[in-house]
Symmetry: C2
Subunit: 395 residues, 2 copies
Amino acid sequence: MIAKRMVNLVEKNSVIREMFEEGKKLADIYGPENVYDFSLGNPSVPAPEQVKESIKKIVDTEDPLVIHGYMNNAGFEDVRDAISKSINKKYGTNFTQNNIIMTVGAASGLNIIFKSILNPDEEVLTFAPYFVEYNSYVEGYNGVLKIVSPNLETFEPNLKELEDKITPKTRALIINTPNNPTGVIYSEETIKKIAEILEKKQNEYNTQIFLVSDEPYRELAYDGIEVPYVTKYYKNTFVVYSFSKSLSLPGERIGYVVVPSEMDDSENIITAITIANRVIGSVNAPSLFQKVVMNCLDIAPDLETYDRNRNLLYNELKSYGFECIKPQGAFYLFVKSPIENEKEFCNIAKKYNILFVPGSSFACPGYVRIAYCVSTDMIKRSLPKFKLLAEETIR
Amino acid sequence: MIAKRMVNLVEKNSVIREMFEEGKKLADIYGPENVYDFSLGNPSVPAPEQVKESIKKIVDTEDPLVIHGYMNNAGFEDVRDAISKSINKKYGTNFTQNNIIMTVGAASGLNIIFKSILNPDEEVLTFAPYFVEYNSYVEGYNGVLKIVSPNLETFEPNLKELEDKITPKTRALIINTPNNPTGVIYSEETIKKIAEILEKKQNEYNTQIFLVSDEPYRELAYDGIEVPYVTKYYKNTFVVYSFSKSLSLPGERIGYVVVPSEMDDSENIITAITIANRVIGSVNAPSLFQKVVMNCLDIAPDLETYDRNRNLLYNELKSYGFECIKPQGAFYLFVKSPIENEKEFCNIAKKYNILFVPGSSFACPGYVRIAYCVSTDMIKRSLPKFKLLAEETIR
């Protein structure tokens, strides 16, 4: 009865989401305090107090017909203006409200971009490991996602292979930095090299290749590391942003897409993605939260908690014998599975009520993703279990 | 540079949305009090006070990690449970939370349904006049929208033509009652006849034909007219609901889809549309507003204002010589254009700073849609202009 395009999706469903449901089931059986669910990127730091205050102030003082009403499909003008100015101030860019399209989170932002730029069988490249939903976002618009294999030493992007895999059908490259699941942040040098390769191939094939920079973790960078603003290095760049992680609002579905005026055919592209926002059914980003985030643009996320978690879990797991690079950003550890088949390793972990996600869900088998956007207390309670897991699985 | 699928959309853009932008431009030139914008279904009645109180209470008393966090892609269990019970109480149905999937408004609900049920070249039928975005929603998943021509006397559905147009490729029929743009409400008898035709054709072709009941205007029914609950008459029915009109929250993007357990293959379909919710990028309906609408399920919309507008505008326009059926529900008048080409009529109206939408945008040329979800005061101020418009155009 269901459409053919959905059969595979229904059969596989999302491993990450299944874990989420499984975590809730285990919590019902063993009590939530005895389940160590590291499966989902659901922030553990609550939304800052200013979010609450802003919500209350807006509903108390502003016209309900405006704050809950329709607006331009690209979003409220004042919100887009404030966001463009905030980006300009932080990164020395030169955007106006016309370059900003408010979206139902980053996932929706990626969808409206691919709907607007992909013709059937055109290719989108990304670096493994990568967020598994990219497959659905690209295939949803009849594109083909092609994977650049991972560099297992450093998880830095494999640029030689990128260059080799670009064809005349390549329409876009997705990058995600700070990266889910590895925590790697691409340096300015790396971004410059990527830009160089794309420029070269655009000229070689006389095509346009878009760089789609998926940046929900932009603010989650530790040790003072800077995350370069990609539009400054390559004009055909879309920036896809979400407030899910920075303001701990993943359920509210609020983000934006940046389309620089320097992008080829930018005016038509802005119109297309604004229309796509409408016709995929989002219509517009949720109105009240557009106004809320406008009031919270200068709030830095609570990095301290995540950083403490990062150091605690990284140091402990290393001391038990697990292998892992130290993440520079985001809130995930990407740990080498001590057992070749990492799904088996995930199953053994479940015996200890520890849940994490197999790397095969990120096109990188042999590893697992451990989300440390959880309470520090839960990490502490989980450590003896991780130790037992190490003893059972590391030889 | 943009995808072929978007070229046409970019060229035509949405006439309704253009009107909306044009209205704002005219307001800048002539002052908002001298522009009579009847183009958009943006409720003029503010969200009820309980919405505000509910928002404040939730953010003051509930855990921000829950109210702004991820949940099951189908929505919060407590919200879906409350909605199912509310429907059961009102309509004598038998739903549980499993039958409810929270969505980013009705537009998103329609998208995830078509993504889940349509294979390439399968057909979806609807009755003209109809909400023009149905084309994009169906074509977005490679389906073909087929139109049953309007009955210009009554705007009741043309059932004979419906029956003739159902083929083995027919996958769904969209109905919209109370109807945008005519205000017609389908009676129980009409729904029964539609169900009979679909049953007969399902048996004849050994197919499943879904009835997709798009119901954003369900509560906007005047004179005590009842809107039948469609799942009671036909098991393969999706109900697509939105709180945009009933609670005046169109910008918040909050609605739901009902999938009855009696539907063929309902379990797979529920899974498919829940996954579709995720992969089209909505992920889930906005979290805070899920909780808000749960607290406002028993609030009736302010029908009085719309009813006053309906009677005022209907009676006056009739008295000036315009032809129109009296709407039973929603908040639109569908008025016969006194000039054969109704776009010309719209242009003449613009001279009087009156904006409304040509019927060709609803696959029904020769008519115009006048949205009376505006302030009664604006209607009153517009009447002398309508009178001049009548004098200029009615011969």
